[in-house]
């Protein structure tokens, strides 16, 4: 199975702190990476650098396009949009568009070759997240949990191969957090997508994810690899969970 996302000695520059140690990862479809670390350690900068919103150096292979930057540079946007879905931390919903338009704008500029986006997709997704009745409303009128669901739905409508979410479960009550997490897990269980997520709770990361990336407070990766290596490195944690 070809690798969707490969990083070789991937350096980061969060808030122009000194360089952090290299990250080496090889992820393919069906895997899921959890990123854990204290607040302000550069989790969201790491996610943004994967998509070209933050400078990085080292080698990054996304699907079939390859980027190699010896010096910290922004990712040059490939001409056509790659099927990558990105859910922002502050769920950047377009305030000037209604809920329905938010979804249709997300899928509007996808290349017709890759995914034929039928209007029914939008309707199915809205019904799934329970926003079909308030589709004419503006995001301002929605509650916190509904905004997060709309932000995640906006990434799912493009049927992405790589799904990147920046702490989607932060500040949510357990019920809506559960519903959002199940929605994300279903897309991964179909086996065709790769999920990259930054998290707050360690128990969730250890039980539901295949790969782990632990960052310490200054942004240096403490551990990076799949769950089995993590357990054999520190067996006492396996006993607890």
């Amino acid at each position: 199975m070809n690798a969707l996302l490969t990083l070789k000695n991937y350096y980061l520059y969060p808030k122009n702190q000194p360089r952090c140690l290299g990250v080496d990862l090889k992820l393919s479809a069906g895997h899921s990476l959890a990123i854990l670390g204290p607040t302000g350690c550069g989790k969201s900068v790491f996610l943004k650098s994967l998509v070209g919103l933050a400078p990085f150096s080292g080698e990054l292979r996304l699907l079939d396009s390859f980027f190699h930057h010896p010096l910290p540079k922004l990712l040059k946007f490939p001409k056509r949009s790659l099927p990558i879905g990105f859910a922002f931390e502050k769920n950047a919903l377009f305030e000037f568009l209604s809920v329905e338009d938010n979804l249709s704008l997300a899928g509007a500029f996808q290349d017709e070759a890759q995914t034929t986006q039928k209007p029914s997709d939008g309707e199915r997704l809205l019904k799934q997240i329970g926003l079909w009745e308030s589709r004419k409303k503006f995001p301002r009128a929605l509650s916190g949990g509904m905004k997060k669901r709309l932000a995640v739905a906006r990434t799912l409508i493009k049927k992405p191969k790589i799904l990147i979410c920046d702490s989607p479960l932060a500040g949510l009550d357990p019920l809506s957090a559960h519903s959002i997490f199940t929605m994300l897990k279903e897309t991964v269980n179909t086996g065709s997508t790769l999920l990259v997520m930054s998290l707050q709770s360690y128990t969730l990361a250890l039980t539901h994810f295949t790969h782990l990336l632990l960052l310490d407070s200054s942004g240096n990766p403490v551990f990076c690899g799949n769950i089995e290596d993590f357990y054999c490195k520190n067996p006492h944690i396996k006993a607890i969970s």
Binding site: P38, T39, D173, L175, H178, F181, T203, L204
Partner: protein
């Protein structure tokens, strides 16, 4: 017989046509670390705002420290409020004052006769006791979220209130600062005889340090759990699901 801090008598509140709270009858007793939990957007914060007179209920009667809120004049209310401090979800620090001035400002306003150096010294002591490690002279927007929360709690403790209402102290914090804030809650509750009422999503902290949990669901007071430490299961499936998911997320 101790008088309850707040007692609600079938209180209901609605915004426009959206029903927020429907005939709630509950008493919150001093000396208990009570947690108010429930899905987001169910009106937990409105419950606290009604209790302190920030908003009027549509029906029903609310007693704050034994005195009905409706007959209270604004000066009596502000006198009572000095004893019952409300800490908001935003760490609402005054952005035109430095950290140490933020903490000392309310005390100086209430007692103009106190000289500022003594008040600032006291503020430094309170901040150190809460484990605040940042510098005292910086402006609030240079603080991290955790530091700002500590400063707002210290500002409330300066007036040594009898009751503290805290709105979501641990959202948006990572594990380490979350346990630090829980430790502060227990400390203020036990040592300083200042009973705390907390609105929160953090099920783990509720089950470990809480004395009583009020569970709101769909504008109703769904469950009133006595001693959460020995909580295993609850007849209502909804509450079970909430707490099981809570442990994981």
């Amino acid at each position: 017989m101790k008088t309850p801090i707040i007692s609600f008598r079938n209180v209901s509140k609605r915004y426009g046509n959206q029903e927020v709270l429907k005939n709630i009858t509950v008493d919150i007793w001093p000396g208990e670390l009570t947690f108010i939990m429930g899905p987001s957007g169910v009106g937990k914060t409105v419950f606290l705002r009604l209790a302190l007179g920030f908003e009027e209920p549509d029906e029903g009667e609310i007693h704050l420290a034994g005195i009905p809120l409706s007959e209270m004049h604004i000066s009596e209310l502000s006198a009572i409020r000095v004893r019952h401090i409300f800490i908001f979800q935003h760490p609402a620090l005054f952005d035109f004052l430095t950290v140490i001035e933020n903490v000392g400002f309310p005390l100086l306003e209430h007692h103009p006769d106190m000289d500022p150096p003594y008040v600032f010294e006291k503020a430094k002591g309170v901040l150190r006791s809460l484990g605040y490690r940042g510098t005292f002279k910086k402006m609030p927007d240079q603080c991290t979220v955790g530091e700002a929360k500590l400063v707002s709690i210290a500002r409330a403790l300066m007036l040594n209130p009898k009751v503290m209402f805290i709105d979501e102290p641990t959202t948006g914090l990572d594990e380490t600062t979350r346990t630090q804030v829980d430790h502060i809650l227990v400390n203020t509750h036990r040592m300083k005889q200042c009973s705390c009422i907390v609105v929160s999503h953090d099920v783990n902290s509720a089950l470990t340090i809480g004395d009583r949990i009020l569970f709101f669901y769909d504008t109703q007071l769904h469950a009133n759990i006595e001693n959460p430490r020995k909580f295993t299961s609850h007849p209502d499936p909804l509450v079970n699901e909430f707490f099981n998911h809570g442990e994981v997320f």
